[in-house]
Amino acid sequence: MSRVLLVEDEAAVALLVSITLEDEGHEVVVRPNGRKGLEAMRAGGFDVVVTDFMMPSLDGVEMIRAARAEGIAMPVVLTSAVPERRVPGRDEGLYQGFLQKPYHEDRLVQLVERLLNGAEGDDLREGRKAASSR
């Protein structure tokens, strides 16, 4: 069983995603914004982070940057209602997987499990190929 940190400000999304991941056998810890997410990352013990981009206090990208600056590194799936080309720092290697909302829960489960199995690359970033071909 792996531990997933879910950082998500949309309560309905947080509830559904945590249920989905728990049904797949993961333990899920939910935090409602980037500041609380960073605190959880500092505490450690997670195998993968699933975080929203636009959130109050710290957004998802700011949270990952701050964690990296403190030497905290773990696989990250970034989700957002905006397409990836609107995400600042998308070429900084801050996250390994990307999903644009609304997404099917199966896509998230697949991404999380591939990251847990050590997969890397652009194919983990849904929409990346379409965005970069523009």
Binding site: D9, E10, A14, P56, A81, Y103
Partner: protein, 540 residues
């Protein structure tokens, strides 16, 4: 010290407006907002007191109702039932600020998905995904209010305003703050929350919209603590759904009170201020001594030389009596220097053109020469003030001096309160007269023969001239007659005349059956077997 801080922010705000090139806005009213965000109303205010600064909403005509737009640094409650359009309106204003180079923050306290909201908003023309996230930022704070209460939400809002410095903050789901205040002092905690939000708005010069679907008594404390209160209503009236907007409160502004209808279309909300609020309170110019030919020479003679310029007339009559024909002959006199407008509900432009040709008026030629514009509006579920505004806009756009509105019955249909037609027509007439237009309305009445009584009280005092068309029975023959009931401040022929609708238009006959013609040198009526000269748009 706080006052100095506010003044400094106000100066910053002005610089920001200038830098973003904010000038004209979305409607006529907003054009009077200058680059500093001040309105013409501020002229003459004490120079040591900072004037109110406003922001355009991007919601057509809403700024006019608000007295110039939202006030910067003020907190508003936007209240309405689910489906009324609060979220659409808030997004519309957010993207308007972004379009003008400012920032907006949309914070929801509802368990709602932005992904789905974006999908819904994507169908509206105002929604610009490229503004997200740099200019319009969306974030959720439901978990904060649920887990930590209103105080934590205030801290979060304060931090977000400092970090992002938006011109506009939307908090969607105001009463989540009340629901999660908890304990016996929930109301006190909620009041404190609303008060704190108002303080945040003033201190940061951020305009804050608090959206809620809860309808509480107007004496509820939250309404006294905010600077503005806008209500959206969505009601069923018989089988028809009707949306109306009411501004209950707008501190420091002369706003347009009462209900104003609005529509949600592909451009988002469009509000239609009641026409009565747009008519000048100054006396409008009276009718002039100049007479405009009606296009029916003998009728001109009956009414003393033509229709008084800048007057309003109604042509009443049962179905098929010739009302639209009279109106078309009036427009047949239009020229590119004396333009006309036909605003109709029943005849499509093609049918109208065919009908006009059959009575000797070449409508297509008039349109092609620029002398006439035809606007057709099906008599379906219209909004009365939308119709009024479209008529006024068309007259202003074309500079029309001859206007036909065919007919009043279709204007009455969308009225929620039928008695309003009187004040509506009064306002419409005053505006059209001020524009220099001479207007003929048609109105269908059920009576086939000369009526002993007419239920047209809506016209009393609002219409200058009344002409009635009716039928008579002559043995087995049905004949048409025309009678003049009123020409304001003018004498007229009180004897009704028989008329026929011919290929050259309306022809009046005297009792012997001869055609009645106007004597162009006197007001006397002469009898001749031949036709008089035709007007500018007549088929020759």
């Amino acid at each position: 010290m706080q006052r100095w801080a506010c003044a400094a922010r106000a100066r910053r705000g002005r610089l920001r407006d200038t830098a973003s090139g904010r000038s004209a806005a979305n409607d006529d009213w907003s054009e009077s907002i200058n680059d500093a965000g001040r309105t013409d109303d501020d002229a003459g205010m004490h120079p040591e007191i900072a004037p109110i600064e406003r922001m355009g909403t991007g919601v057509p005509q809403l700024d006019q109702i608000l007295g110039g737009g939202l006030v910067r640094g003020s907190a508003y409650i936007v209240q309405g039932p689910p489906g009324a359009g609060k979220t659409i309106m808030a997004n519309q204003i957010c993207h308007e600020r972004a379009r003008r180079g400012e920032g907006a923050l949309y914070l929801t306290l509802l368990a709602e998905s932005f992904g789905r909201m974006f999908s819904h908003m994507n169908g509206f023309s105002f929604f610009e995904p490229a503004h997200i996230p740099d200019r319009v930022y969306y974030a959720g704070a439901y978990a904060t209010i649920r887990d930590e209460g209103p105080d934590a939400l205030i801290r979060l809002v304060s931090a977000e305003l400092r970090k992002r410095r938006p011109a506009l903050l939307v908090i969607d789901g105001l009463f989540a703050a009340r629901d999660h205040a908890g304990g016996r002092d929930a109301d006190a905690a909620f009041r404190a929350f609303v008060h704190e939000i108002g303080q945040q708005a003033a201190l940061t010069e951020t305009t804050i919209l608090l959206l809620t679907n809860q309808s509480r008594a107007s004496s509820s404390p939250e309404y006294t603590m905010v600077d503005g209160w806008i209500e959206l209503q969505d009601e069923l009236r018989a089988e028809r759904a009707l949306r109306t907007l009411i501004v209950h409160k707008q501190r420091g502004s002369a706003f347009l009170r009462g209900r104003h209808e609005y529509r949600i279309g592909e451009d988002g909300l469009t509000v239609f201020p009641r026409l009565e609020t747009q008519a000048s309170r100054e006396p409008v110019p009276g009718t002039s001594d100049t007479r405009l030919p009606t296009g029916v020479d003998a009728l001109d003679t009956m009414i003393g030389g033509g229709i008084p310029e800048r007057s309003s007339s109604v042509v009443l009559g049962p179905t098929g009596s010739g009302k639209t024909t009279v109106a078309m002959q009036f427009l047949g006199e239009c020229t590119p220097d004396e333009r006309g407008l036909f605003f109709g509900f029943y005849e499509t432009p093609d049918r109208l053109a065919r009908k006009a040709t059959s009575v000797g008026v070449d409508l297509d030629a008039l349109r092609e020469s620029g002398a006439l514009e035809v606007v057709w509006q099906p008599p379906l579920e219209n909004l009365i003030d939308d119709l009024g505004q479209r008529i006024v806009s068309a007259v202003r756009r074309t500079g029309a001096r001859r206007v036909v509105i065919d007919g009043i019955n279709a204007l009455q249909r969308p009225l929620t309160f039928p008695g309003r037609i009187h004040s509506f027509l009064r306002a419409l007439n005053d505006i059209l007269k001020a524009e220099g237009a001479t207007t003929i309305y048609t109105r269908e009445v059920p009576q086939l023969f000369f009526p002993e009584a007419l239920a047209v009280e809506e016209l009393s005092g609002t219409i200058d001239n009344t002409i009635i068309l009716h039928y008579t029975l002559d043995g087995n023959a049905v004949r048409r007659r025309i009678s003049v009931l009123k020409i304001r401040d003018s004498d007229f022929d009180h004897i009704s005349q028989e008329f026929e609708v011919t290929a050259e238009g309306i022809v009046l006959r005297d009792v012997s059956g001869h055609e009645r013609l106007a004597d162009t040198t006197t007001s006397a009526t002469v009898v001749s077997p031949t036709s008089a000269s035709a007007g500018g748009g007549r088929v020759r």
